[in-house]
């Protein structure tokens, strides 16, 4: 999910190594007097923001990590955070629940919708699985799908932008 700090399944050794790197970057930040450093290396993207530039103390330890997310997630086409995306377009469909989003009935099958498709109000555009139940997510209105923010089998949280219908 876009605003989760780490993807499900992040393993401890990776996290430890990332933590160490963050600590190094935090010191570098202090040393250079920069307000922010973003770095992407060995499959991990780390962004550190100096205290005073982040929103709240929890987010900063002197200079501390605000986001440590595997690059994979970013590379799959979801650079926008929920906050940025929400409100960016009135036709954004937000997830009504926590679960795992599926773009097709089964792996390899045709997706319910593709970017550019015309959809009718009520037409199933996605499925979200929560507690072993498959929930069809209908299009709230008729229109053209101009963006799909999630990929198949991706965990989504409440309120997360899924796709945009114009």
């Amino acid at each position: 999910m876009a605003t989760a700090k780490k993807k499900a399944g992040a393993k401890s050794p990776e996290r430890r190594s990332a933590d160490k790197r963050v600590r190094d970057l935090a010191m570098l930040l202090q040393e250079t007097g920069l307000s922010e450093i973003e770095i992407e290396e060995r499959g991990t993207r780390i962004r550190v923001v100096a205290a005073g530039h982040a929103g709240a103390p929890g987010a900063a330890t002197g200079a501390a990590p605000v986001a440590v997310a595997p690059v994979a997630a970013a590379a799959e086409g979801q650079p926008a955070t929920a906050d940025e995306a929400t409100g960016s377009h009135p036709g954004t469909l937000l997830s009504p629940m926590v679960g795992t989003a599926f773009v097709a009935t089964e792996p390899g099958a045709d997706p319910f919708v593709r970017v550019g498709d015309q959809v009718n109000a009520g037409q199933t555009v996605l499925i979200i699985e929560a507690m072993k139940v498959m929930n069809s997510i209908p299009a709230p209105k008729a229109g053209k799908v101009i963006e799909i923010m999630i990929s198949d089998a991706e965990p989504v949280e409440f309120g997360q932008p899924l796709l945009v219908i114009e």
Binding site: M1, T3, A4, K5, K6, K7, A8, G9, A10, S12, R15, G55, A56, P57, G58, A59, A82, M97, V98, G99, T100, A130, M131, P155, E157, F158, G159, Q160
Partner: protein, 448 residues
């Protein structure tokens, strides 16, 4: 040991649980409503998942959302904190069905203690003293007189279907009993359509004293002493202390022993609290809370134990690392609950924290998820901070509490800090001479 724990709560207790996990090397998942996306524990947790809109029913009480969040993040266990789903047996069952560990007792024990009548019967069976009274309904004045004589006056006549003070009459002498039963029966019949009555001993000025217990899966149970939580307003605890100013070591050991033995017989696993009314040297069971409590830090301060850590450990199946004889009580501790409320009217005061500066120094602990710039949302409980102070004895503890309250700055909203400052300047409180009715009388006096 667990790899990842989902914290199904918010506010200071979510941060408290996160800290225990972090100190045990366990990753944390914060689940939160849209109102809490900037909360401290959400920012500190290893992962966070938004589970719903602000109303608790749609987020913190939303079982499918919480279970889904645990599944998508791969959490091994769920810690429910206090309130919300912490004493919901069905939730404990569902968590177990999903092969996730519920950090708390069995659903069966939650269910048992959640039923007031079954809980009282169980307590009695296990040798825990309960309020004496009629076993069931009373059918005649003669029967009532016999029972009242046996348990001693004053007694209280209660309607079995009653509530909200209706159908309740306090009886101080035998000749008042007949009229009281008539009146209560009539009132109950009118209000609830049922004039079934029962009778209990009436406690005039009891204290609220509770014993903390902890059991593992291997039959070991210890008690961690008592907490005195008599300072209450509308059944909400305001300030708690340990040990109770009313108990001596012998009474503590005797009653703690009875409680630990009973809970051991029950086969209870995890943290629990057995609550009593205490009057004239006698304890009377009220209920058992089958979860971590708000006031657990006062016990931590005098025992040196981390109760959340121990709770997590026993949930993994680990044995208790200590026996009763290893538990030593060291000094005195007081917790002040600081609420986002007017200190006298208790009107809620949510809003933005303009300044935040907690007190520091020796034996001063602050459990709070506040920070400067944080906005206290209006949707949830008003508890925003717990100030817990220890001293070598009660007097040192009070003086340390005074200076800590002086240093504590929470700007931008009203808080109950001024109420605590009034309390610690009051002679009755300083002398430990209070009971569960005392605070409300104090507040009435102060208003007048």
């Amino acid at each position: 040991m667990f790899e990842k724990i989902l914290i199904a709560n918010r506010g200071e207790i979510a941060l408290r649980i996160h800290r225990a996990c972090r100190e045990m090397g366990i990753a944390t998942v914060a689940v939160h409503s849209t109102a809490d996306e900037n909360a401290m524990h959400v920012r500190l947790a290893d992962e966070s998942v938004c589970i719903g809109p602000p109303p608790a029913a749609d987020s913190y009480l939303n079982i499918p959302a919480i279970i889904s969040a645990a599944e998508v993040t791969g959490a091994d266990a769920i810690h429910p904190g206090y309130g919300f789903l912490s004493e919901n047996a069905r939730f404990a069952d569902i968590v177990a069905e999903h092969s996730i560990t519920f950090i708390g007792p069995t659903a069966e024990h939650i269910r048992l203690m959640g039923d007031k009548i079954a809980a009282k019967e169980t307590a009695k069976r296990l040798g825990i003293p309960v309020v004496p009274g009629s076993e069931g309904s009373i059918d005649s004045l003669a029967e009532a007189e016999k029972i009242a004589d046996a348990i001693g006056y004053p007694v209280i006549v209660k309607a079995a279907s009653g509530g909200g003070g209706r159908g309740m009459k306090v009886v101080r002498t035998p000749d008042e009993l007949g009229p009281a039963m008539s009146a209560a029966g009539t009132e109950a019949k009118a209000a609830f359509g049922d004039d079934t009555l029962y009778l209990e001993k009436f406690l005039e000025r009891p204290r609220h004293i509770e014993f903390q217990v902890l059991g593992d899966m291997h039959g070991n149970t210890v008690h961690l002493g008592e907490r005195d939580c008599s300072l209450q307003r509308r059944h909400q605890k305001i300030l708690e202390e340990a040990p109770s100013p009313a108990l001596n070591d012998k009474e503590r050991e005797r009653m703690g022993g009875i409680v630990a033995k009973a809970i051991s017989k029950l086969g209870y696993i995890g943290l629990g609290t057995v609550e009593f009314l205490y009057e004239n040297g006698e304890f009377y069971f009220i209920e058992m809370n089958t979860r971590l409590q708000v006031e657990h830090p006062v016990t931590e301060m005098i025992t040196g134990l981390d109760l959340v850590r121990e709770q997590i450990r026993v949930a993994t199946g680990a044995k208790l690392p200590f026996r009763q004889k290893d538990i030593k009580f060291r000094g005195h501790a007081i917790e002040c609950r600081i609420n986002a409320e007017d200190p006298l009217t208790f009107a809620p005061s949510p809003g933005k924290i303009a300044e935040y500066h907690p007190p520091g120094g020796l034996d001063v602990r602050v459990d709070s998820a506040l920070y400067a710039g944080y906005t206290v949302p209006p949707y949830y409980d008003s508890l925003i901070s717990k100030l817990i102070v220890r001293g070598t004895n009660r007097n040192e503890c009070l003086l340390r509490l005074r200076r800590s309250l002086e240093e504590y700055v929470i700007g931008g909203i009203k808080t109950t800090i001024p109420l605590h400052q009034l309390l610690i300047g009051n002679d009755d409180f300083v002398n430990g001479a209070y009971n569960i009715n005392w605070l409300e009388a104090f507040l009435r006096d102060h208003e007048g």
